[in-house]
Protein backbone atom coordinates (compact mmCIF):
# COMPACT_ATOMS: atom_id res chain seq x y z
CA UNK A 1 0.00 0.00 0.00
CA UNK A 2 1.03 3.57 -0.54
CA UNK A 3 0.27 4.88 2.94
CA UNK A 4 0.98 3.56 6.40
CA UNK A 5 -1.90 3.33 8.82
CA UNK A 6 -1.62 5.31 12.05
CA UNK A 7 -4.21 3.38 14.00
CA UNK A 8 -5.16 0.67 16.46
CA UNK A 9 -5.65 -2.83 15.03
CA UNK A 10 -9.11 -4.30 15.37
CA UNK A 11 -10.46 -7.76 14.65
CA UNK A 12 -11.15 -8.06 10.90
CA UNK A 13 -13.95 -10.54 11.53
CA UNK A 14 -16.07 -7.83 13.09
CA UNK A 15 -16.46 -6.13 9.72
CA UNK A 16 -17.75 -9.07 7.69
CA UNK A 17 -17.26 -8.88 3.93
CA UNK A 18 -18.34 -5.26 3.53
CA UNK A 19 -20.45 -6.27 0.58
CA UNK A 20 -22.03 -3.32 -1.24
CA UNK A 21 -25.73 -2.89 -0.61
CA UNK A 22 -25.90 0.38 -2.54
CA UNK A 23 -23.30 1.67 -4.98
CA UNK A 24 -22.79 5.42 -4.79
CA UNK A 25 -19.92 5.82 -7.28
CA UNK A 26 -18.61 3.25 -9.69
CA UNK A 27 -15.75 3.00 -12.10
CA UNK A 28 -14.14 -0.36 -12.77
CA UNK A 29 -16.37 -1.64 -10.00
CA UNK A 30 -17.92 0.04 -6.94
CA UNK A 31 -15.58 2.61 -5.42
CA UNK A 32 -17.88 4.39 -2.99
CA UNK A 33 -20.76 2.42 -1.58
CA UNK A 34 -22.94 1.61 1.38
CA UNK A 35 -22.39 -1.66 3.23
CA UNK A 36 -23.52 -3.01 6.55
CA UNK A 37 -21.42 -3.82 9.59
CA UNK A 38 -23.13 -5.54 12.47
CA UNK A 39 -26.38 -4.75 10.65
CA UNK A 40 -25.69 -1.03 10.67
CA UNK A 41 -24.96 1.08 7.59
CA UNK A 42 -21.46 2.25 6.81
CA UNK A 43 -20.06 4.28 3.94
CA UNK A 44 -17.09 2.69 2.22
CA UNK A 45 -14.51 4.58 0.15
CA UNK A 46 -11.71 2.88 -1.76
CA UNK A 47 -8.60 4.72 -0.63
CA UNK A 48 -5.87 2.63 -2.24
CA UNK A 49 -5.24 -0.64 -4.05
CA UNK A 50 -2.27 -2.93 -4.44
CA UNK A 51 -2.69 -5.19 -7.45
CA UNK A 52 0.43 -7.22 -6.69
CA UNK A 53 -0.84 -8.13 -3.22
CA UNK A 54 -4.43 -8.28 -4.50
CA UNK A 55 -5.56 -6.06 -1.65
CA UNK A 56 -7.38 -2.75 -1.52
CA UNK A 57 -7.56 -0.33 1.38
CA UNK A 58 -10.95 1.01 2.34
CA UNK A 59 -12.05 3.83 4.58
CA UNK A 60 -15.15 2.81 6.51
CA UNK A 61 -17.30 5.22 8.51
CA UNK A 62 -20.77 5.01 10.02
CA UNK A 63 -23.56 6.61 8.09
CA UNK A 64 -27.33 6.95 8.09
CA UNK A 65 -30.15 7.97 5.80
CA UNK A 66 -29.81 11.65 6.65
CA UNK A 67 -26.12 11.70 5.71
CA UNK A 68 -26.71 9.67 2.55
CA UNK A 69 -29.62 11.85 1.46
CA UNK A 70 -27.47 14.96 1.95
CA UNK A 71 -24.61 13.35 0.02
CA UNK A 72 -26.89 12.38 -2.86
CA UNK A 73 -28.44 15.86 -2.91
CA UNK A 74 -25.09 17.63 -2.98
CA UNK A 75 -25.66 19.19 0.43
CA UNK A 76 -22.74 17.26 1.89
CA UNK A 77 -19.34 16.53 0.33
CA UNK A 78 -17.64 13.15 0.17
CA UNK A 79 -15.15 14.22 2.80
CA UNK A 80 -17.93 15.39 5.09
CA UNK A 81 -19.75 12.08 4.66
CA UNK A 82 -16.59 10.26 5.74
CA UNK A 83 -15.91 12.60 8.64
CA UNK A 84 -17.89 10.77 11.33
CA UNK A 85 -17.44 9.81 15.00
CA UNK A 86 -15.27 6.87 14.05
CA UNK A 87 -13.25 5.84 11.02
CA UNK A 88 -11.66 2.52 10.16
CA UNK A 89 -9.01 1.64 7.59
CA UNK A 90 -9.64 -1.81 6.22
CA UNK A 91 -7.46 -3.96 3.99
CA UNK A 92 -9.67 -6.22 1.94
CA UNK A 93 -8.38 -8.88 -0.42
CA UNK A 94 -9.79 -8.94 -3.93
CA UNK A 95 -11.66 -12.11 -2.92
CA UNK A 96 -13.48 -9.95 -0.30
CA UNK A 97 -11.73 -11.33 2.79
CA UNK A 98 -10.92 -8.59 5.25
CA UNK A 99 -7.28 -9.25 6.08
CA UNK A 100 -6.54 -6.33 8.41
CA UNK A 101 -8.40 -3.45 10.00
CA UNK A 102 -7.57 -0.48 12.19
CA UNK A 103 -9.45 2.14 14.13
CA UNK A 104 -8.12 5.59 13.24
CA UNK A 105 -8.28 7.72 16.41
CA UNK A 106 -7.23 10.83 14.48
CA UNK A 107 -9.89 10.25 11.86
CA UNK A 108 -9.39 11.62 8.40
CA UNK A 109 -6.43 13.73 9.47
CA UNK A 110 -4.36 10.54 9.61
CA UNK A 111 -5.14 9.74 5.97
CA UNK A 112 -2.72 11.35 3.48
CA UNK A 113 -4.25 13.77 0.98
CA UNK A 114 -4.16 11.65 -2.19
CA UNK A 115 -5.97 8.81 -0.44
CA UNK A 116 -9.14 10.65 0.50
CA UNK A 117 -11.42 12.94 -1.50
CA UNK A 118 -10.38 16.53 -2.09
CA UNK A 119 -12.34 18.82 0.24
CA UNK A 120 -15.57 20.07 -1.28
CA UNK A 121 -15.86 17.32 -3.87
CA UNK A 122 -19.45 16.19 -4.25
CA UNK A 123 -20.71 12.75 -5.16
CA UNK A 124 -21.14 13.54 -8.86
CA UNK A 125 -20.10 16.12 -11.40
CA UNK A 126 -23.78 16.88 -12.05
CA UNK A 127 -24.27 17.89 -8.43
CA UNK A 128 -21.24 20.17 -8.68
CA UNK A 129 -22.57 21.80 -11.83
CA UNK A 130 -25.87 22.35 -10.07
CA UNK A 131 -24.07 23.87 -7.10
CA UNK A 132 -22.17 26.24 -9.36
CA UNK A 133 -25.32 27.32 -11.14
CA UNK A 134 -26.86 28.18 -7.77
CA UNK A 135 -23.98 30.36 -6.64
CA UNK A 136 -24.87 34.06 -6.32
CA UNK A 137 -22.49 35.22 -9.07
CA UNK A 138 -23.47 32.47 -11.46
CA UNK A 139 -24.44 33.79 -14.94
CA UNK A 140 -27.61 31.74 -14.83
CA UNK A 141 -28.55 33.23 -11.47
CA UNK A 142 -27.89 36.71 -12.85
CA UNK A 143 -30.32 36.17 -15.65
CA UNK A 144 -27.90 35.17 -18.42
CA UNK A 145 -28.21 31.96 -20.31
CA UNK A 146 -25.57 29.51 -19.15
CA UNK A 147 -22.83 28.73 -21.62
CA UNK A 148 -22.75 25.49 -23.48
CA UNK A 149 -21.13 23.06 -21.10
CA UNK A 150 -19.67 20.65 -23.63
CA UNK A 151 -15.94 20.81 -23.06
CA UNK A 152 -14.62 17.91 -25.05
CA UNK A 153 -15.85 14.65 -26.39
CA UNK A 154 -13.30 12.06 -25.51
CA UNK A 155 -14.87 9.17 -27.30
CA UNK A 156 -16.13 9.24 -30.82
CA UNK A 157 -19.37 7.44 -30.25
CA UNK A 158 -20.41 7.94 -33.86
CA UNK A 159 -17.71 5.74 -35.27
CA UNK A 160 -17.35 3.04 -32.67
CA UNK A 161 -19.45 -0.07 -32.65
CA UNK A 162 -22.10 0.07 -29.97
CA UNK A 163 -22.96 -2.79 -27.66
CA UNK A 164 -26.60 -3.88 -27.77
CA UNK A 165 -29.10 -2.65 -25.22
CA UNK A 166 -28.53 -5.60 -22.89
CA UNK A 167 -25.12 -4.24 -21.92
CA UNK A 168 -26.51 -0.85 -20.93
CA UNK A 169 -28.37 -1.79 -17.81
CA UNK A 170 -27.61 -0.49 -14.36
CA UNK A 171 -25.16 -2.50 -12.25
CA UNK A 172 -26.60 -5.44 -10.41
CA UNK A 173 -27.19 -5.03 -6.68
CA UNK A 174 -24.55 -6.28 -4.31
CA UNK A 175 -24.86 -9.65 -2.72
CA UNK A 176 -26.40 -10.09 0.68
CA UNK A 177 -23.99 -10.27 3.56
CA UNK A 178 -24.26 -13.28 5.82
CA UNK A 179 -24.96 -12.60 9.51
CA UNK A 180 -21.76 -12.04 11.42
CA UNK A 181 -21.65 -13.92 14.71
CA UNK A 182 -18.66 -12.02 16.04
CA UNK A 183 -19.05 -9.39 18.72
CA UNK A 184 -18.07 -5.81 17.99
CA UNK A 185 -14.70 -4.44 18.93
CA UNK A 186 -14.43 -3.52 22.55
CA UNK A 187 -13.79 0.21 22.42
CA UNK A 188 -16.59 2.57 23.35
CA UNK A 189 -16.47 4.42 20.07
CA UNK A 190 -17.09 1.25 18.10
CA UNK A 191 -19.64 -0.47 20.27
CA UNK A 192 -21.85 2.52 20.87
CA UNK A 193 -24.38 3.41 18.18
CA UNK A 194 -22.69 6.14 16.12
CA UNK A 195 -25.46 6.37 13.56
CA UNK A 196 -27.21 9.59 14.15
Amino acid sequence: MNWNVDGEPIAPEWLGELAPVETLYEFDGPRIYVARVQNRPVIVYESDADDERAVRRLLVAPTNEKILDALKAGARSLLEALNQPWLHAVDQAFDHRVVAAWHLPKGLSSVPEPFKPVAGTLLSVELEQERRSNEPDSPSRAGFAPGVAVLQLYINTETIEKIPEAANKAPSPGKTEAPNPWPPHGSDTESSPPFH
Binding site: F27, S47, A54, P117, S124, V125, L127, T157, E161, A167
Partner: protein, 107 residues
Protein backbone atom coordinates in the same frame (compact mmCIF):
# COMPACT_ATOMS: atom_id res chain seq x y z
CA UNK B 1 -9.04 8.84 -18.01
CA UNK B 2 -6.74 9.75 -15.15
CA UNK B 3 -3.07 8.70 -15.21
CA UNK B 4 -0.11 9.02 -12.91
CA UNK B 5 2.46 9.74 -15.60
CA UNK B 6 2.79 11.27 -19.04
CA UNK B 7 3.24 9.41 -21.27
CA UNK B 8 0.79 6.85 -19.92
CA UNK B 9 1.94 3.35 -19.15
CA UNK B 10 0.18 0.06 -19.71
CA UNK B 11 -0.42 -0.41 -15.97
CA UNK B 12 -2.89 2.48 -16.09
CA UNK B 13 -5.05 0.59 -18.58
CA UNK B 14 -5.65 -2.79 -17.01
CA UNK B 15 -9.18 -4.07 -16.65
CA UNK B 16 -10.54 -5.45 -13.43
CA UNK B 17 -10.20 -8.93 -14.91
CA UNK B 18 -6.55 -8.31 -15.73
CA UNK B 19 -6.05 -7.12 -12.16
CA UNK B 20 -7.81 -10.23 -10.86
CA UNK B 21 -10.50 -8.10 -9.30
CA UNK B 22 -14.23 -8.80 -9.06
CA UNK B 23 -13.65 -12.45 -9.84
CA UNK B 24 -17.09 -13.39 -8.53
CA UNK B 25 -18.97 -10.70 -10.44
CA UNK B 26 -22.23 -11.78 -11.98
CA UNK B 27 -24.66 -10.45 -14.56
CA UNK B 28 -23.52 -7.16 -16.15
CA UNK B 29 -20.61 -6.98 -13.74
CA UNK B 30 -19.16 -10.16 -15.20
CA UNK B 31 -19.00 -8.36 -18.54
CA UNK B 32 -17.90 -4.89 -17.48
CA UNK B 33 -14.99 -6.26 -15.43
CA UNK B 34 -13.35 -7.07 -18.77
CA UNK B 35 -13.63 -3.46 -19.89
CA UNK B 36 -12.20 -0.11 -18.86
CA UNK B 37 -14.18 2.78 -17.43
CA UNK B 38 -13.96 5.91 -19.54
CA UNK B 39 -15.84 9.19 -19.54
CA UNK B 40 -17.15 11.25 -22.41
CA UNK B 41 -16.53 14.65 -20.81
CA UNK B 42 -13.54 16.39 -19.29
CA UNK B 43 -15.67 17.51 -16.35
CA UNK B 44 -16.44 13.91 -15.39
CA UNK B 45 -12.75 13.01 -15.48
CA UNK B 46 -11.80 16.05 -13.45
CA UNK B 47 -14.41 15.16 -10.86
CA UNK B 48 -13.11 11.60 -10.66
CA UNK B 49 -9.62 13.00 -10.16
CA UNK B 50 -10.74 15.03 -7.15
CA UNK B 51 -12.73 12.15 -5.71
CA UNK B 52 -9.77 9.77 -6.09
CA UNK B 53 -6.58 11.83 -6.23
CA UNK B 54 -4.42 8.72 -5.93
CA UNK B 55 -5.32 7.82 -9.51
CA UNK B 56 -2.93 10.47 -10.75
CA UNK B 57 -2.58 14.11 -11.64
CA UNK B 58 -3.02 13.87 -15.40
CA UNK B 59 -6.20 13.68 -17.39
CA UNK B 60 -5.64 11.99 -20.70
CA UNK B 61 -7.91 11.66 -23.69
CA UNK B 62 -8.21 9.55 -26.79
CA UNK B 63 -10.38 9.43 -29.85
CA UNK B 64 -11.52 5.87 -29.94
CA UNK B 65 -12.83 4.30 -33.09
CA UNK B 66 -14.20 0.92 -34.04
CA UNK B 67 -10.76 -0.50 -34.68
CA UNK B 68 -9.88 0.00 -31.00
CA UNK B 69 -12.61 -2.16 -29.52
CA UNK B 70 -16.19 -2.12 -28.35
CA UNK B 71 -17.80 0.70 -26.43
CA UNK B 72 -21.03 0.89 -24.48
CA UNK B 73 -22.74 3.57 -22.47
CA UNK B 74 -22.86 2.14 -18.96
CA UNK B 75 -24.40 4.98 -16.97
CA UNK B 76 -25.47 4.85 -13.38
CA UNK B 77 -27.70 7.23 -11.50
CA UNK B 78 -24.86 9.43 -10.33
CA UNK B 79 -22.47 8.72 -13.17
CA UNK B 80 -24.44 9.29 -16.36
CA UNK B 81 -21.35 9.93 -18.52
CA UNK B 82 -19.79 6.60 -17.71
CA UNK B 83 -18.82 4.34 -20.60
CA UNK B 84 -17.11 0.99 -20.72
CA UNK B 85 -14.50 0.29 -23.36
CA UNK B 86 -13.51 -3.27 -24.21
CA UNK B 87 -10.22 -2.93 -26.12
CA UNK B 88 -9.46 -5.48 -28.76
CA UNK B 89 -6.53 -7.79 -28.22
CA UNK B 90 -3.39 -6.30 -29.68
CA UNK B 91 -4.49 -2.68 -29.21
CA UNK B 92 -1.76 -0.77 -27.40
CA UNK B 93 -4.12 1.10 -25.11
CA UNK B 94 -1.71 3.56 -23.54
CA UNK B 95 -0.49 4.70 -26.94
CA UNK B 96 -3.95 6.00 -27.80
CA UNK B 97 -4.06 8.49 -24.93
CA UNK B 98 -2.39 11.88 -24.65
CA UNK B 99 -2.50 14.59 -22.02
CA UNK B 100 -5.44 16.91 -22.16
CA UNK B 101 -4.13 20.42 -22.70
CA UNK B 102 -6.52 22.32 -20.40
CA UNK B 103 -5.73 20.54 -17.17
CA UNK B 104 -3.96 21.77 -14.11
CA UNK B 105 -3.99 18.52 -12.20
CA UNK B 106 -4.42 17.89 -8.52
CA UNK B 107 -2.30 16.15 -5.96
Amino acid sequence: MVCKTIPCVSADFLTQAERNRAIDATSEGACTRHGLSVFSTYASCEHQQRAFSRLGRYIVRARLSAEHGMLAETPSTRNPRHHTWWPYLGVQREALFAAHEEQGGVG
